[in-house]
């Protein structure tokens, strides 16, 4: 039996134990969904490098460890530790989840009203959740073993509903805290009615040195002309594992701008899948990854242009040091009817050490003839001539490297128009990079 097969059996056993505790035994549809997903997991197992989409990301070390799916009442880190992990906050409304479950004591949800409804998913499901059913659907065989695993164990997360025209004025901060040996399976829903708008920050943190698995899944549905600015910040423990999925469905004229920043996790992967269901929709996926030591960081993007006049952009940059490995797989498919598509894709990585490695796979498949498409990928080192030029002006070597790395990541940071988040990110980024510089890695 393979490690991934064993993992599937482990989680099957866990499911048997926990099933009575999981929300949604009533309604029966949810229970059915979980069982179908588990069935799939038991047959297909967790992904292996033989799966094309997982060729460069080997998760056998995740499969080899038996994490315990978070149960209600699982141990929660003490208050002081939690509060330190929540720094730096954004000062606005916040929902905190520990091991994937809502923690009201540390949360401050936005005020109800104005067509904005923000609830923990568990609460929504306890009320029947019939309206959420289409947003939780799991088509047989959908996604990877991790998708199935999340579907089986999803219990809580943020459920954000915006009525047509509603505006969430302040950025909504969702913080997910991981705990030792636990599998957390947050499931988030953002359902934005026509012409509504919001900014949502998803942040994943964990105690330093903590070993756990976050397997998170967020679904976003944007109705006509809805606008969502989305941030995804992974600053998990450097020993933790992070598997994240983001699925976006966009109706005509909607706009989705996302920035994913990956700093944490021993192995981390973020999958983003965008489907346009209407014309003239726009999606911009920005990303920044920083990895060192033996970290592995993977971004797997898939955008389908099936309808005319949609715009997509992927703009990803990364800095890799030590023996870190980065993967970028960006796939854009422009189907035959998707005329006047504007699709751009860019991935640039900076390798600071000889042992760092980057696999960049920009893929553009175009089946329409009247489109604007461009893609490019570069992998390089710090420019030795630039370094000497700065030093020849009196700038010390460490500061010169700092300036050049800052210049490299600067244009991704420039795409974060939320000052408190941007400042927090700059601090986190430099804390990571400077620690690396100090260690001489």
């Amino acid at each position: 039996m393979t490690a991934t097969g064993n993992a599937a059996i482990h989680y099957l056993e866990q499911f048997r134990e926990q099933r009575p505790e999981l929300p949604g035994r009533e309604p029966a549809w949810l229970d059915g969904l979980r069982r179908e997903a588990l069935e799939h997991l038991a047959t297909a197992g967790l992904p292996t490098p033989r799966d094309e989409a997982w060729k460069y990301t080997n998760v056998s070390s995740i499969a080899a460890q038996a994490f315990t799916p978070a149960a209600p009442g699982a141990a929660v880190p003490d208050r002081a530790l939690l509060e330190s992990l929540l720094e730096p906050g954004l000062g606005g409304p916040r929902l905190v989840f520990v091991n994937g479950r809502y923690l009201p004591e540390l949360s401050s949800p936005p005020a109800l009203g104005g067509g904005v409804r923000v609830r923990p998913l568990a609460a929504a499901l306890a009320e029947g959740g019939e309206s959420l059913r289409p947003h939780l659907a799991w088509p047989p065989g959908d996604g990877s073993g991790f998708t199935a695993l999340n579907t089986a164990f999803m219990a809580d997360g943020a459920c954000i509903e915006l009525a047509p025209g509603a505006r969430l004025e302040e950025p909504l901060h969702l913080v997910f805290v991981g705990g030792e040996d636990v599998l957390a399976s947050p499931r988030n829903l953002i359902i934005a009615g026509a012409e509504s708008s919001a900014t949502v920050v998803e942040e994943y943190v964990g105690p330093e040195g903590g070993r756990y698995l976050t397997n998170t899944h967020t679904r976003i549905s944007l109705e006509e002309k809805a606008q969502l600015v989305h941030y995804r910040l992974n600053r998990e423990s450097l020993r933790a594992f992070h598997m994240g999925e983001l699925r976006i469905r966009q109706a005509a004229g909607s706009r989705f701008v996302s920035t994913a920043v990956a700093l944490g996790g021993l192995i981390s992967r973020t999958e983003v899948r965008v489907d346009f269901s209407g014309e003239g929709a726009e999606t911009r996926l920005n990303g920044l990854y920083v990895a060192s030591g033996r970290q592995h960081t993977d971004h797997h993007l898939h955008i389908d242009h099936r309808l005319p006049g949609c715009t997509s952009e992927q703009f990803f940059k990364g800095v890799l040091d030590g023996a870190a490995r980065g993967v970028f797989s960006g796939r854009v498919v422009v189907h035959p009817d998707a005329q006047h598509t504007d699709a751009r894709q860019s991935n640039k990585s900076l390798l600071l050490s000889r042992n760092a490695e980057m696999d960049a796979r920009p893929q553009l498949e175009i089946y329409a003839d009247d489109v604007k498409c461009a893609h490019g990928a570069t992998v390089g080192q710090l420019d030795g001539d630039a370094l000497f030029y700065l030093r020849a002006r009196g700038v010390g070597e460490a500061e010169a490297r700092h300036l050049l790395i800052h210049a490299f990541v600067g244009d991704v940071l420039d795409r974060i128009p939320l000052p408190p988040l941007r400042q927090a990110l700059e601090r986190l980024l430099w804390a990571r990079l400077d620690r690396r510089e100090a260690a001489g890695a």
Partner: protein, 257 residues
């Protein structure tokens, strides 16, 4: 001030400098001329500390200190400035940030207080006038998209802000039209001072019409084969580098003697 004794250097095990001797005193302007491949730019880069070149022998003393033991940034802070033949484009780093980082590094090294934002900007803007550089250049990325002339003016601007004791101009005239050449030369001349020296590396005599040297040295195959006053540059212009071969044979004989 700067004393070079029997300096030899190579790149990828290929000897380029084969024994340079040179003495530069405060306030002097020395021109180093010579045909392509004679080692002029190597000399300039070795003095600035470029690590691509291996110094294989000899000594360089700078104000009584062993220059070759210093890192490039230490040389810069101790007052040596190399104006690059090919100034490097650095996307994402603005001119103003580079100037600030460079000037502060130097002031800190000298144990002086860093300039505040107001004084710094006042200084930079005043020095920009020297090279007739419009203000928006300050906020553009270092040399990115600059024309050849703009890049060289930017080098002179950096020199004017950093106020070195020794300016090394590495073929600063290459690729410049006559107007740009004049602006650059005027900038350099404005910086001439009794305690500030220049080493001007050039292929052509033309630049020396504007920056008049006290001494001219002819470099060939990694050695100074002839030294003289400014009239030597005119001689070279008239006779070309062809007669250098004869000088070299002479220098070779001297070396064997």
């Amino acid at each position: 001030m700067l004393t070079i004794k029997n300096l030899t250097a190579s790149i990828n095990d290929k000897p380029i400098l084969r024994g340079i001797d040179l003495e530069v005193r405060p306030g002097e302007v020395h021109a180093i001329m010579g045909p392509n491949g004679s080692g002029k730019s190597t000399l300039a880069n070795v003095l600035a500390g470029r690590e691509d070149y291996a110094v294989t022998g000899g000594e360089v003393s700078w104000q009584g200190r062993d220059l070759l033991a210093l890192a490039p940034e230490e040389r810069a802070r101790e007052g040596i400035f190399l104006a690059f033949q090919y100034p490097v484009e650095i996307p994402g780093v603005s001119n103003v940030n580079l100037l600030k980082a460079a000037l502060n590094a130097k002031l800190k090294h000298l144990g002086r207080e860093e300039l505040d934002a107001y004084d710094f900007l006042a200084l930079v803007k005043e020095r920009m006038k020297l090279v007739q550089m419009p203000e928006d250049f300050l906020y553009r990325a270092v040399n990115e998209g600059f024309s050849g002339g703009e890049k060289k003016r930017n080098e002179v601007l950096q020199m004017a802000v950093l106020e070195p004791l020794l300016g090394i101009l590495d073929e600063t005239d290459s690729g410049l039209d006559i107007d740009a050449l004049k602006i650059v030369a005027d900038g350099v001349n404005a910086l001439r001072a009794p305690d500030r020296s220049f080493v001007v590396v050039t292929h052509y005599q033309r630049l020396l019409d504007y920056i008049v040297p006290d001494h001219v040295h002819v470099l060939a195959h990694g050695r100074i084969v002839k030294s003289g006053g400014k009239e030597l540059a005119l001689d070279l212009e008239r006779r070309g580098y062809g007669w250098i071969a004869e000088l070299e044979r002479g220098a070779g004989d001297d070396a064997r003697a």
